[in-house]
């Protein structure tokens, strides 16, 4: 039994392939076969053209920080002793944006448009959460 104290994601039918991917240290996002759009979080239709004709691709795991916030107040006991921590909107090179923690950097040094790359964190035997670190 894990003593992991943070909430674990509860996948939806649409997002299961994403979480299966992170477990294998792959960052899977959806890409439209009609218009080329990529998006996140997972959905059944392309948000750009409405097509159902899309596929999962392995993202390169590289991107930039579009924006970020730094938690100085505790909202959940799982982060006790870990303040401050950073949550960012990461824009992947493929175009899709996703929320992620920024790690391996002082919170004060994080900046918009900074280049980052994915770092997989196997938080339990079952769940792997993608985080990002400066390149």
């Amino acid at each position: 039994m894990s003593d992991y104290a943070k909430p674990l994601p509860i996948p939806s039918p649409e997002s299961e392939p994403f979480w299966a991917g992170t477990k294998k240290h792959l960052l899977k996002i959806q890409k439209c076969n009609e218009c080329g759009e990529t998006w996140f979080p997972p959905a059944t239709l392309c948000p750009n053209c409405g097509s159902r004709n899309h596929r999962w691709i392995d993202a390169a795991g590289k991107g930039i920080i579009h924006s970020f916030v730094t938690y100085h107040r505790l909202y959940h006991k799982g982060w006790e002793g870990e303040l401050p921590y950073v949550v960012a909107i990461v824009e992947l090179v493929e175009g899709a944006r996703m929320l992620a923690n920024i790690v391996d950097i002082e919170a004060n040094d994080v900046a918009c448009d900074m280049s980052v790359q994915v770092k997989f964190d196997d938080v339990t035997d079952e769940v792997t959460i993608p985080k990002f670190q400066p390149t």
Partner: protein, 397 residues
């Protein structure tokens, strides 16, 4: 690509009016439910108009979000059969949108006298148990999602809105002191409002010393947790002539929701206020230069700054300089949130901003609170984490 707008078959400018406004007790009111608070506000709004519940044939309400068909619960308690009623769920844009829906319903002959109101027991909920207090929310986490958030430690409205502030600071050089100018101006207004929750003066230095919550937002960037309700009464402009108060005409309204997402496109720095404002100005036949005062949805300081830009009171990126000039003060070029707003009066997700807009145009205040010569006001509602926007333009004639 969004479709071109269809030219309206009728112009709703000046067709309807707000004829009464009321509030409940504001602050920590643990012994009254959200419905009880709303009943108090509705009673006060009807009294203000010189009407009773028997005159009301429409309810556009909001209460605790988990109560199924909330308007039905309130209608039963008030003894009202409604020709037009529903519960609103558009976040902080709900209440302003409720007034717009009321004007549309009355203009299309579906109802004649509609109460728009919101009752909220947020202080009591946040303080009801440790888990709520820690999350600083009166709503269950499930309402906000169970993946792509909680596992990252991403909780709460502070962080969601702070993303916008970070990006704005990066792109336009906006500073925390400029956010502080907003908090200071609204606190000064609250000190003139005996109902306001916050009673202590706030200086820019106090603002700087406020503890960080989720950077770039500190304590004084964040709105209050309150138990409170507000309500307004909408009827036709014709009927309004015979009622107790000077009618407040609904000159224009607009709505826009960036449902593609807060994190997408340039939505962090360009809100739905751009399109909602254009629609409202178009209906009213007015522009930002005609607005005498504004009640801007102030869940967080930054949201005021960005909406001021998006409504055209200054250029994009210049909101920081604009607020630093003192423009928002009661004697400034655009008196804003003249009751103290959600940052310093009380937070009923925009409902009290509608009430304050009405009262300024009724001209009910003494010289310390009344915007001198106020004839046209703009009221905004913003929310839904954080992409929904509704706009009202109100006037005395």
């Amino acid at each position: 690509m969004i479709s071109p707008i269809v030219e309206p078959s009728i112009n709703l400018r000046d067709r309807c009016a707000l004829v009464g406004a009321g509030t409940s007790q504001l602050g920590k009111v643990p012994d009254v439910s959200a419905i009880g608070l709303l009943e108090e506000a509705i009673t006060n709004a009807l009294n203000d108009a010189g009407l009773t519940t028997s005159d009301v044939d429409g309810l556009l309400l909001r209460g605790p979000d988990e109560i199924y068909t909330f308007h039905q619960v309130v209608g039963e308690r008030l003894g009202i059969d409604a020709r037009f009623s529903t519960t609103l769920t558009n976040g902080g844009a709900s209440q302003v949108m409720g007034v717009a829906l009321a004007a549309m319903a009355i203009s299309s002959g579906l109802a004649s006298c509609i109460v728009v109101g919101y009752g909220r027991d947020n202080w009591s909920r946040v303080h009801a148990n440790k888990e709520n207090h820690l999350r600083s929310s009166g709503r269950p986490q499930q309402m906000y999602g169970v993946e792509f958030g909680p596992e990252l430690g991403y909780f709460g409205a502070v962080a969601a809105h702070a993303f916008g502030a970070t990006r704005h600071m990066h792109e336009y050089g906006t500073s925390r002191d400029q956010f502080g100018a907003i908090a200071v101006a609204f606190r000064e207004h609250a000190l003139r409002n005996p109902e306001a929750v916050m009673k202590k003066p706030l200086t820019l230095d106090d603002y700087r010393c406020g503890r960080m919550i989720v950077a770039p937002f500190g304590l004084f960037d964040c709105s209050l947790q309150t138990d409170a309700a507000g309500a307004v009464v909408v009827t036709s402009a014709e009927r309004a002539k015979d009622l107790r108060q000077r009618p407040v005409l609904i000159k224009g309204f607009g709505t826009h929701n960036n449902l593609t997402g807060w994190y997408n496109k340039d939505n962090l720095t360009h809100t739905g206020a751009i399109e909602a404002g254009q629609a409202a100005y178009r209906m009213a036949g007015l522009g930002p230069e005609d607005i005498d005062f504004a009640q801007i949805y102030d869940c967080f300081t930054y949201m005021v700054l960005v909406q001021l830009e998006d409504y055209g009171f200054c250029k994009k990126g210049e909101g920081g300089e604009f607020v630093e000039t003192g423009a928002l003060r009661i004697d400034g070029s655009l008196p804003t949130n003249t009751s103290g707003g959600q940052l310093s009066e009380a937070h009923v997700e925009g409902m009290l901003q509608v009430v304050e807009g009405v009262r300024q145009l009724q001209g009910v205040y003494g010289p310390e609170r009344q915007v001198e010569g106020a004839e046209i006001g703009l009221v905004s509602g913003h929310g839904g984490n954080t992409v929904c926007e509704s706009t009202l333009i109100l006037g005395t004639a």
